[in-house]
């Protein structure tokens, strides 16, 4: 055991009524790596990361952060540990403007007694910082005081991604962050993920886009029927093979105790 996984889970189970979304899933995220999570629709990818980030409570199983058992009762718990998540479909509050969404749940207050006593928001600074973060991602927006509901699907996703990138200090989790994005914007998100990785922050990336996965991932977690069926090093496999494993056409012997390519992530 040379490296402790940043985030580790064993035997996660999550049932929705008579549907078992997670059926004893394991998970390992190593320091500094980009881990792609792939799998068919309904394989339990979203359920897995929701369980890992406090958005749902697993029925069974344990989660370890830096080797210590943790229990996130809500997404805020996870956020306090520096875990930022871009959730599929549920990223932004429609009637609020972009800057407000960026800082939702961690608003900046004015310095001095105006902020501490009168709890006055520092709207100007939040707008400026939002503008900076959005500019980093090069997402073109007409106005930061525009309500998010007036944005196109892709622009909204851009806001959510920019927010996660801006605030993560420990782990970033992204559930299909580029699904709605255009080519240019996707490219920018991918660049952003690379930059985050270069800062040493590990990233969990759920994606159905194999070219993206192969471009970015240090390791690939393959989810199937509610559990992890393989951990692959993209260098060892080609796209067709990975897809075959994912769809169950090909079986791999799973090396359980040690992540298959635990040192591949250090760029």
């Amino acid at each position: 055991m040379t490296t402790t996984p940043v985030l580790r889970a064993r035997g996660l189970v999550k049932r929705y009524g008579h549907v078992t979304a997670l059926d004893g899933a394991d998970f390992d995220l190593m320091p500094g790596e980009v881990l792609a999570v792939i799998g068919d629709n309904g394989a339990g990818k979203t359920s897995l990361i929701k369980a890992l980030t406090g958005a749902v409570q697993p029925d069974e199983g344990e989660i370890l952060l830096d080797g210590r058992p943790v229990r996130f009762r809500n997404p805020l718990d996870a956020r306090k540990h520096g875990i930022e998540t871009v959730y599929q479909d549920l990223a932004v509050a429609a009637s609020l403007d972009i800057a407000t969404n960026m800082f939702l749940g961690r608003e900046l207050r004015k310095p001095g007694p105006l902020g501490t006593i009168f709890r006055l928001l520092d709207k100007k600074r939040m707008r400026e910082e939002s503008a900076r973060h959005m500019a980093d991602l090069k997402i073109g927006l007409r106005s930061l005081t525009q309500a998010v509901e007036t944005l196109s699907g892709g622009q909204r996703q851009g806001v959510a991604v920019a927010r996660a990138v801006a605030f993560a200090s420990h782990v970033i989790v992204m559930d299909e962050p580029t699904a709605a994005l255009g080519v240019k914007e996707s490219g920018q998100v991918l660049d952003m993920i690379k930059r985050v990785r270069d800062r040493g922050l590990p990233v969990v990336l759920i994606s159905h886009n194999m070219p993206h996965v192969f471009e970015l991932a240090d390791r690939i977690h393959v989810q199937r029927l509610g559990r992890r069926v393989a951990q692959l090093n993209p260098a060892d496999h080609d796209m067709a093979e990975v897809v075959a494993i994912m769809t169950g056409a090909l079986q791999v012997k799973q090396d359980e105790s040690v992540p298959a390519a635990k040192d591949a992530g250090l760029s």
């Binding site: 959730y87 932004v92 509050a93 429609a94 009637s95 609020l96 939702l104 749940g105 709890r119 927006l141």
Partner: protein
Amino acid sequence: MPVIEATLPRRLLSTPIVGPLAALLAACVFFSLNTEQFLSGGNFSLIIQQVMVVGTLAIGQTLIILTAGIDLSNGAIMAFGGIVMTKLAVDGVLPPLLAIAAGLAACAVFGLANGLLVTRISLPPFIVTLGMLNVVFALTHIYSQDQTVTELPAALTYLGETFRLGGTNVTYGSLVAILLFLLFAYLLGQTAWGRHVYALGNSPDVARLSGIRTQRLTISVYTIAGLVYGIAALLLVSRTGVGDPQAGQTDNLDSITAVVLGGTSLFGGRGLVIGTLVGALIVGVFRNGLQLMGVPSIYQTLITGILVILAVTVDQLSRRRTR
């Protein structure tokens, strides 16, 4: 693409308060032209006194509606609070100021109870507050034994006293109500708590996943609303000079009317508490103006009904144009 701020006139036009304000102004102009007595400082002071109780209830209602909830129990809670503060003071159980505090606390507790039922058991606010309406109504009558509480100590009616402002008598109660509106405009518009209330009304899921403690926030909203109903109870007591177990029975729908006339969406997440003030004033101006014109009560009901629909129609059409 550069980040351009929307130009001011456009922003102004798309602000949800313009419609209600226009309706209010139109009503004022109409009544000024049609009655001699309408246009006077004294009459406006009167209208504010008449709407301040429902207006204050409507502040709490606005908070709850912004979270996509609704409160049918607010008038009943106010009546209970009024009885508690007057009875404790008159029976000599507590000194007047503590009796007031007890009344405010009682209202906050019912608000809390609403909030707990809405969050912990995830019941729809409509049904929680409908049940609570019956419960609190019954408790009010049981506790008061249906007796109006009279001969109140001065502390309880102090807010009913007036001071002169530019030649017009204004009650302290009116001032308190206006200050409450400003306070909540500040809290909703300028603090994180306010932002979270809007986010919650937009989508509870998004709010929760954004790290907002939605349950705690919802409970805080209902409890604060309860406290505001307590203040409304004090305003009512100071205005009428009695503790009345029959009070507030139609105030739930009246306060909702004020909120909606003020441009706040019943679906949550959109609206301004200052709009609610305008909405309450619209109702008050109409009631006052029609009465000054000598319109019989039943026609006042008719006209109020038509005007509620008309006002939101105008508001809706004006918004559609600016879309």
